[in-house]
């Protein structure tokens, strides 16, 4: 009896907090049929926002994947001066408000900031693509590192040592021994990084200036459509983002790090 009560309680809670609200957005989007929703996501502004969002992710995700794997290797396999500090810095974006991240970049690259002079030399960071990419990289930095570190620690170094005694170069050892062992962890981290990059709102909102049709990503577009009394546009944009999120969840299920050491 108690078991059923608990089950019902949990299901009810999740339904009211998650299921019904998400379902309702889909219903509201398509209640007048597919046509208005399709028209809303294919306006030039919406398409531009989608393209910009994907472009930013296409830069931020590979950067954080590449550097994330090297970072994880350095943290686990090398003796690193100040390792505790590096660990803390890598975790910081998880705990920090996106608005604070945005403001930090705003102050660094803004007028009077340490790197504010770049704008005078013709390299615009704020209110332009570079600033939005930097904000997204900052926010999504931890995911690949955090997924790869525990796996590296778990697989140990025996096989790598064996490869080395057999004459493999460090690069060969990495490619043939280490990489296959951590590839699922990398995949998991990449999915998380991608989801975070595509959905980032607060930090990008501060550094982008939210110029419609120019520096507006899809999440920013959703907000501006909602505030400008275009619920159809906002709902349709949300559904696109929600579908990406559902794909993410499915990908996470599929790539959950499995034991294959």
């Amino acid at each position: 009896m108690a078991r059923h009560a608990l089950r019902l309680g949990v299901l009810g809670y999740l339904l009211l907090l998650l299921g019904v609200p998400v379902g309702l957005v889909f219903y509201r989007t398509f209640q007048h049929g597919l046509q208005p929703a399709w028209a809303a996501v294919t306006t030039p502004e919406a398409l531009h926002a989608l393209r910009l969002t994907l472009l930013i992710a296409a830069i931020a995700v590979p950067a954080n994947t590449l550097f994330g794997v090297v970072l994880a290797l350095a943290l686990v396999r090398h003796r690193l001066p100040g390792r505790g500090l590096v660990n803390a810095v890598v975790d910081l974006p998880l705990a920090l408000s996106p608005v604070v991240v945005g403001l930090a970049l705003f102050l660094l690259y803004g007028r009077g900031g340490w790197l504010g002079g770049l704008a005078d030399r013709g390299l615009r960071i704020l209110f332009a693509l570079p600033g939005m990419v930097l904000a997204t990289i900052f926010i999504s930095l931890p995911f690949v590192v955090r997924e790869v570190v525990p796996v590296l620690r778990e697989i140990g170094t025996e096989q790598e040592q064996a490869a080395e005694t057999l004459g493999a170069s460090p690069l060969q050892t990495f490619r043939r021994i280490t990489l296959p062992a951590i590839r699922w962890a990398i995949a998991y981290g990449v999915v998380l990084t991608t989801a975070r990059s595509i959905g980032e709102f607060g930090a990008v909102s501060v550094v982008s200036g939210r110029i419609a049709g120019k520096t507006e990503t899809l999440p920013l577009y959703v907000q501006s459509q909602y505030e400008n009394f275009d619920p159809t546009g906002a709902f349709a944009g949300s559904v696109v983002l929600a579908l990406i999120a559902v794909a993410t969840v499915l990908a996470l299920r599929f790539s959950r790090p499995r034991e294959e050491v």
Partner: protein, 276 residues
């Protein structure tokens, strides 16, 4: 595997350290510094541009204090609720079985994957002015709490679930055979084992709630002294050109985040015996 004595003597961690070691170390120190530390240093630098007094004046402005207080209050409330609901959800996912359970397990990750602005919009459609239940939480503190509950849902569940899975059932069976009622078994046997996991999940949820912006921005209405939380206050100050005020409150949030991370590190150490 037969290892040569020379190899056995070698410290783990020296493999591949020669070729890419310097490069890896350079990246490990340089990349997070460039991406994370330099901007935050710039933030700290400009928050002190008015001197310590200036910083204090900005942080103690009535509107800033009200925003910080509300943020702390709501984050603590939501963290406490998550400790309960998260543990209950993890329990049902691990110990209960019913059709559709794996679907439910997947759904838990949705708040992580859903962009925060969409989360806000989603909640507004149900609990906003045109909601089907006639329940309007827009521009109320309850609405903000709801948005925070939504985005922090997975933290405690995902922290507790693996620990519960690994937990040995023998002690519980022993307790039951000695006549302990289920509640007593849970409280005296299961719960003590879950506490470190619950606490680290709660700490992550708290950090997330303190800084949350996207999910809250639509639903809160940003009424000063009523529904304005710290991140929205900072955003407003940036918009109105008061960068120093924004930086001062940001530094407070930054210090809070650092404190939470230290706590989580301690919990992790407690649970696994190593950090990272």
């Amino acid at each position: 595997m037969a290892t040569s004595p020379a190899l056995a003597l070698r410290r783990p961690g020296t493999v591949a350290a020669r070729g890419g070691g310097t490069l890896a170390r350079g990246v490990a120190l340089g990349y997070p510094s460039l991406v994370v530390l330099v901007p935050l240093a710039a933030l700290a630098w400009s928050s002190r541009s008015g001197g310590l007094m200036g910083f204090w004046t900005e942080v103690t402005l009535p509107e800033a204090v009200a925003a910080l207080k509300l943020t702390l209050f709501l984050s603590l409330l939501v963290s406490a609720l998550n400790a309960l609901s998260g543990t209950a959800i993890a329990w049902v996912l691990v110990r209960d079985s019913f059709p559709g359970k794996s679907l439910l397990d997947g759904v838990i990750d949705l708040p992580f994957a859903l962009p925060t602005i969409v989360a806000g919009l989603v909640l507004l459609t149900l609990y906003g002015p045109n909601g089907p239940f006639g329940l309007n939480l827009a521009f109320t503190r309850a609405g903000i709490a709801l948005a925070l509950l939504f985005v922090t849902l997975p933290f405690v569940v995902r922290a507790v679930q693996p620990v519960l899975l690994e937990l040995d059932r023998e002690m519980e069976e022993a307790a039951e055979s000695l006549g302990a009622r289920p509640v007593a078994t849970f409280r005296r046997i299961v719960l003590p084992n879950l506490v470190p996991a619950i606490l680290s999940g709660v700490a992550l949820a708290f950090a997330r709630a303190v800084g949350e912006f996207g999910a809250v921005v639509l639903i809160s209405g940003n009424l000063p002294f009523k529904t304005e939380i710290a991140s929205v206050y900072i955003f407003g100050q940036i918009e109105s050109g008061n960068e120093r005020g924004a930086a001062a409150v940001s530094v407070v949030l930054l210090l809070l985040s650092l404190g939470v991370l230290l706590l989580i590190g301690a919990f992790r150490h407690w649970r696994t015996g190593h950090d990272g």
